[in-house]
């Protein structure tokens, strides 16, 4: 195993996923899938990486940084495409990580991939959202990489982002049927709320949370996204704000000067609360999450973006 592989930490994959998904909403879908496979190639020192979505045997994006695939002749390329499609198909069927050794004739396939791509091991990750595999990422690393549970969990988190981007049900829901208002002040207010709504939509798709709420630090409800719930959002907002205020004061007593978040953990659900610009609270209600630390980082990223919007609402004297 190389020095690089020895030094690889489980948390590294979360940074990769975070960096990728943080850009998911800023670039066109086609560019995002290309960036995804290129970033994975670079992270895992792979000679090739491909993304498969749906049941198509053809990859939607391919990264080939050393032009190893480009140098293959027609027959070799066809053979590689077949192996790649078989790997993707295997993980789509049962939704678990697979290697080339799991395929029929695994030893022969591994020898072939080692010869043409210099790949020590070949992996295929399932992309899962809402409990179903809808695609796969195939990876051909040139060095043996110590894949951990964190790698599998982190990479599966990408599934939510791709699923949302592919089905076009994510950001922009509010703006799909806007109500035209005549007042300039109301129009500005509407625009800011639409922006806030988009950020909340993006966060809920990234985290697969049940609900995301934005509320004033005094407990006044501002916006909510996610599942329909039985409880009153404004009552819940009041409780979140009072709990956060008590927690912040307790943290202050014990010396915390920059306490920005708290987490409440229960059997059936969890609540992550993060401060936004000293004036608002971002509240994420979620069930079992594969990577809570990733959820915290996504929430922090959303809180920073919301902070800008909130400041502009205050500057415009709209709040």
């Amino acid at each position: 195993m190389s020095d690089w592989a020895d030094s690889a930490q489980p948390g590294d994959v979360y940074r990769l996923v975070f960096d990728l998904t943080a850009r998911a909403t800023d670039v066109p879908y086609e560019s995002f899938v290309t960036e995804l496979v290129e970033a994975m190639c670079a992270h895992y020192h792979a000679s090739a990486c491909r993304l498969h979505l749906g049941h198509s045997t053809k990859a939607v994006a391919t990264a080939d940084p050393g032009n190893a695939l480009g140098k293959l002749d027609r027959n070799e390329r066809a053979r590689f495409d077949t192996i790649d499609a078989m790997l993707a198909d295997a993980v789509r069927k049962d939704g678990v990580l697979r290697t080339a050794l799991d395929l029929d004739g695994g030893d022969e396939i591994c020898n072939y991939l080692r010869r043409v791509l210099g790949s020590e091991e070949s992996f295929a990750f399932p992309l899962i959202t809402r409990g179903q595999a809808f695609g796969a990422v195939t990876l051909y690393p040139t060095e043996a990489y110590p894949f951990t549970e964190a790698d599998v969990r982190g990479l599966q988190a990408i599934g939510n982002v791709l699923h949302a981007a592919r089905h076009q049900t994510g950001p922009g829901l509010i703006g799909s049927n806007p109500i035209h208002v005549t007042s300039e002040k109301l129009r500005a207010y509407q625009e800011h709320l639409e922006e806030i709504g988009r950020i909340l939509d993006e966060l809920i798709f990234l985290t697969a949370a049940r609900n995301v709420l934005l509320l004033d630090v005094n407990g006044d409800f501002i916006a909510k996204r996610g599942e329909e719930s039985d409880f009153s959002a404004s009552s819940f907002a009041t409780l979140v704000a009072s709990s956060f205020a008590a927690c912040r004061r307790l943290g202050g007593i014990y010396g915390a000067t920059d306490m920005r978040s708290t987490v409440h953990e229960g059997d059936e659900g969890n609540v992550f609360v993060m401060e936004v610009s000293d004036r608002a609270l971002l509240c994420v209600v979620y069930g079992d999450h594969e990577a809570p630390s990733l959820l915290a980082r996504w929430s922090a990223s959303a809180a920073n973006r919301l902070s800008d919007k909130y400041e502009s609402l205050l500057e415009a004297r709209l709040l």
């Binding site: 009552s235 819940f236 709990s243 307790l250 943290g251 014990y254 010396g255 987490v263 409440h264 659900g269």
Partner: protein, 165 residues
């Protein structure tokens, strides 16, 4: 004996407080936490073990009770039983709040011990505290105690050793 002022305040006897202290002392010893406070639902301090708190304990217990009430109501709304809260404190470490009986257990600990380790020991301590808090062992005032003091100490010591090693 701790006497209550309001009709809803539970009265605990010295023997019960001693039993709680035994459980909490063992918890501190095993988990490596700095301080543990047991607070009732109204914000009264039942007992404390470990280092002195950095501020007035009345303030701390009132805040713990406030958080307890809010998080319990949030948990009910979400259909879950109870919430435990974890707060990052200054200079490293955390403050962990766990429901215990009608009240709450507040544990302060440094970065030298992990949240999950403290949570595991704290949950076991809460399990041991619940029979005392709910008087399942009998009301000392009515003489219906089923376990004698010396025997209780020995039994709880053995039981905690079994669990914590």
């Amino acid at each position: 004996m701790t006497r209550g002022h309001g009709p809803d305040r539970t009265v605990f006897y010295a023997r019960e407080i001693h039993q709680m202290n035994l459980v909490l002392g063992k918890f501190l010893q095993k988990s490596g936490a700095e301080t543990v406070l047991l607070v009732d639902v109204a914000g009264h301090l039942l007992t404390r073990q470990g280092a002195q708190s950095p501020a007035s304990e009345d303030t701390i217990t009132a805040l713990v009770a406030g958080n307890c009430a809010a998080s319990r109501a949030m948990a009910t709304m979400l259909g879950t039983q109870e919430f435990s809260s974890c707060i990052r404190r200054g200079g490293g470490g955390h403050l962990l709040l766990l429901p215990a009986g009608d009240g709450m257990l507040a544990v302060a600990f440094g970065d030298d011990t992990s949240v999950s380790l403290v949570r595991t020991y704290a949950l076991e301590a809460v399990r041991r505290l619940n029979p005392i808090l709910t008087r399942e062992l009998g009301d000392p005032a009515t003489g219906e105690e089923r376990i004698e003091k010396d025997r209780f100490e020995a039994e709880i010591d053995d039981a905690l050793t079994d669990v914590f090693g």
